[in-house]
Symmetry: C2
Subunit: 559 residues, 2 copies
């Protein structure tokens, strides 16, 4: 049996564009004489469609799009994710089995994830997926994403017991660093457990804060990886699988009409990909997430405030990789507190990247504000108000350029900063997309180092790595005036944010109780800032986005 995996990058809501993409891949599948071609979860409408599913007409249009694909499956079997509507108007997350121009069956997802970034129970009701399919000699079952993760004697096990020797799983599984390893381990186990081939197709592409990494997988019944799709790119995999014939006793089998192209196929060889480091995966996730956010939202160019620090440097490099250096504009906005080192580093980076570069000093504007506020501020000591004003002037300049030229502003804050609120609302937080919002500071350095190494030269100037991190909003300021060293901070934040550990548990790992308490308080108190932050690429198991829903008004005190 020849199977093709169409690892595509659909766009949420783009029913006609997605249908075109699916059609192209149906043709590709015919061209390689595939018996079966599989597409990801909700390929027709994109994932996650969120409250678009509350619009009756959206669901209707998705059904129409699926129906229009039907005739394009002549002499082919295709499995395509879409939204099905039940008799009472209820919705199912579904896989259509299109066979030789007909809708042979619809399989409904049984396990609906409703945790982390997922809200599937908001929209869908769980189905009951009882069918098994025969195509030529091969018998297979179809299930959807979470269905193969949940080990409760559920759908995948029923399908194997019912005679399926190939389990097709169509997914939309968002990336975080380490997810692919977890996925491989699970699917290998499922292959061994069910003694079946596993064909897993994952969506690829960025959608708001999520990035889907693709990396579709095929396992044989011995748990051996046969083929894998690229990470962070569209791909089309073809493999010949020697699926064993099913035992006779199987019930509820739908026999599909086998394609007529089956006789004279040349053998297909599949090869595994070279392993990719975790840091490279993260980098690619950031690039794809940024590219898709910018492009799918119709922007051509982006604008970045270049401070000469590591964060904005990394964001500029990612942006150039994502949409091309000719589409990236950098702006340096020095004040009296800007050192000559950071100033020249920002410029050097722009030169290294060959991006358009402006320098717009903010000192005069700052004077204007201080003059206007003189009376109101009389007798008050200088404090964070003046510091934030500078950050906000810079935000305004970026937004003015954005409004004037139609460029999207990328913000440059990292996860450590946004976690503890070490950032200025309407200042450095101004912008459409927060590229490294989920990247802890220590990892920012690692990514920058990785990218320089890949380039074989100091694309990001060496001095950017060695200088003590500073916001440069007052004289001789460094981040460590306010924050603990970043290795400590990032470790505490991982425990508190990603793992929801308690103060008691954290203080077993970090002996400085006052420090842990301070970090927890900073995180809790800056929830209101995060609520007004731009979205950014999720790369950790718990990002500040859909998988972090803490109340702003929150008087919980655990110490």
């Amino acid at each position: 049996m020849r199977i093709a995996i169409a690892q595509i990058n659909p766009t949420v809501g783009d029913l006609s564009g997605n249908a075109r993409k699916i059609t192209e891949h149906l043709q590709k599948a015919k061209a390689v004489k595939a018996d079966l071609v599989i597409f990801p979860e909700l390929a027709v409408c994109g994932y996650p469609p969120e409250d678009l599913l509350y619009k009756e007409h959206f669901v209707r249009d998705n059904l129409t799009a699926l129906n229009d694909l039907r005739p394009k499956t002549k002499d082919l079997t295709a499995i395509i994710g879409f939204v099905d509507k039940g008799k009472k108007g209820e919705l199912y997350n579904s896989a259509a089995v299109l066979n030789n121009g007909k809708l042979a069956a619809v399989c409904h997802k049984e396990q609906l994830p409703n945790y982390g970034v997922f809200d599937e129970k908001r929209y869908f009701v769980p189905g009951r997926n009882e069918l098994i399919f025969r195509l030529g000699a091969a018998v297979f079952g179809v299930n959807i994403c979470e269905d193969i993760w949940v080990n409760d004697g559920g759908v995948y096990l029923r399908q194997a017991r019912g005679g399926a020797r190939l389990l097709v799983n169509i997914s939309a599984s968002p990336f975080y660093a380490g997810k692919l390893e977890a996925r491989k381990k699970l699917l290998r186990q499922r292959a061994l457990e069910t003694r079946s081939f596993i064909c897993y197709v994952n969506i690829v592409g960025g959608q708001d804060e999520l990035v889907f990494d693709g990396a579709s997988l095929i396992y044989n019944p011995k748990g051996e990886l046969l083929a894998e799709g690229k990470e962070f790119a569209e791909d089309f995999l073809v493999a010949d699988l020697g699926v064993a014939a099913a035992p006779k006793k199987s019930a509820k089998i739908v026999t599909l009409s086998a394609p007529k192209n089956g006789s004279t196929k040349p053998k297909i060889r599949t090869e595994l990909l070279a392993p990719v480091s975790r840091i490279e995966s993260i980098y690619k996730a950031l690039v794809l997430g940024t590219r898709d956010y910018v492009r799918k939202n119709g922007f051509q160019k982006v604008l970045i405030g270049l401070s000469g620090g590591i964060d904005s440097s990394l964001v500029a490099v990612i942006a150039a990789d994502a949409i091309g250096r000719e589409n990236v504009v950098g702006v340096s906005m020095p004040s009296r507190f800007t050192s000559s080192g950071t100033r020249s580093d920002g410029k050097a980076l722009a030169e290294n990247l060959k991006i358009k570069f402006y320098e717009i000093p903010i000192e005069g504007i700052m004077e204007g504000y201080l003059g206007a506020l003189k009376e109101a501020f009389v007798g008050q000591p200088r404090n964070v108000a003046e510091e934030n004003l500078q950050a906000r002037i810079r935000g305004n300049i970026l937004m003015a350029l954005s409004n004037k030229f139609g460029w999207m502003v990328l913000t440059t804050g990292n996860k450590s900063e946004i976690a503890v609120g070490y950032c200025t609302l309407y200042g450095d937080m101004s912008g459409g997309f927060a590229v490294i919002k989920d990247v802890p500071k220590i990892k920012v350095y690692e990514l920058a180092k990785f990218r320089n190494a890949e380039e074989g030269r100091d694309l990001i100037p060496r001095s950017v790595f060695t200088r003590a991190p500073t916001a440069e909003l007052r004289a001789n300021q460094t981040d460590q005036d306010t924050l603990p060293p970043y290795d400590t901070l990032d470790a505490i934040l991982k425990g508190y944010v990603e793992e929801h550990r308690s103060f008691d548990k954290l203080t077993k790992l970090f002996t400085d109780k006052a420090l842990v308490a301070k970090v927890i308080r900073m995180v809790d108190l800056s929830e209101y800032k995060r609520r007004q932050a731009a979205p950014g690429v999720k790369i950790t198991p718990r990002a500040f986005g859909k998988d972090w829903r803490l109340p702003i008004t929150n008087k919980y005190k655990e110490f």
Copy 2:
């Protein structure tokens, strides 16, 4: 049987504060010799606790808080909402039945809402609530919020069939205009349907974007309203109910120890409240929502940019009503486009309200920006960039005062504006709380008129009502240069946003197809702005907040 309803205002996460409040009301219940006192859903931890529930220690601390309340129910029966933890660590939204110092039983919520603003399936598993209670002669059942709404032969019906003649429902039911009428209609029907008394207790208070309106209710088996709690304030209701004895055959009845205070009670008379207009309810919702957001987040004073328009005028009046005029500061920030009329109206309002008032012109700062941007903008025509800059200068001034003095900035945008993106990110959208974010423009006028009438004078100057709405960001600008008249706009928005109506359906109601298309496009394209907006009080069935989860990246085109 004497029942007391403790309509309290807990704070999310404030386990000790909430326990104190519950303790006070247990004492009140004893003082009036109540047999039974009921508290709202999740009274122990506040509603909704959101991802605090993902913290094991938070759930544990909530269980400890409940356990500490136990001894305080000597000679009393109390029903208190809390989070219960099952043997496998699963969580239940629960009601504890505390009786004479013991935990007599726990009732688990069966129907978990996971739509609109609700995410209960993210946290809880549905329970099975089989128990019925006997207290003296009275037999009653306990169910939780949604349990009494869902008409599927579920828990409330089972309880009535099992012999309950009183149904206690503990709720956390968020306000929108019209919700109380719906609730009354439903509960009356449930009373008639089950021939039982219905005692419904609702939480009261603001929690981020939600306001709970209280308005607890008691119905007799004839469907007659016996007593009602205040709207938008804490209340303590006591009523004597002649609950009929249960038929003998009832199964699964837990017999509670009856209090010893039952013999010599003077009769309690309950009276119904005077009816309240819908506009007054909305006004009160805005006041309570603002007060609780400011106070529960630890702020003393608020700051409002007063433009002399209707929106900021209304917000200032609401703020003064919420936290006292002495805690409200107004700032007028005129530019060259500010008319003398709006300028004097802003000042007059501040004088009428007797609030502290600053005037800080922005012209000089604007000049500074234009000078700094001169080179970058060379040859470019004036456009929205310059308009937004002015709004952002104002936002910065407000934030500078906020940072300097610790005042929370209230934003003044209405729902019509935020719907179509007629507002400036980091400009007039800067602030901690967006008081009238869910109030359509036409309703803003109604609320202002209502409040002036209540005051018996023009608290908000008359000219504010008669002037054509304008952002005053360029010469001779009015809102209607860009937007349709507000009555049309608000009607289209109601259809598109609140009712998720399609273009096809909307153009049956509004014949101007181009206009409908324009409004839809404006709404869709400004999703990114809403995602960075401050929270505000929900007063409609669908606000831009937790019940509006549209993707930013969204290529759905329905026309």
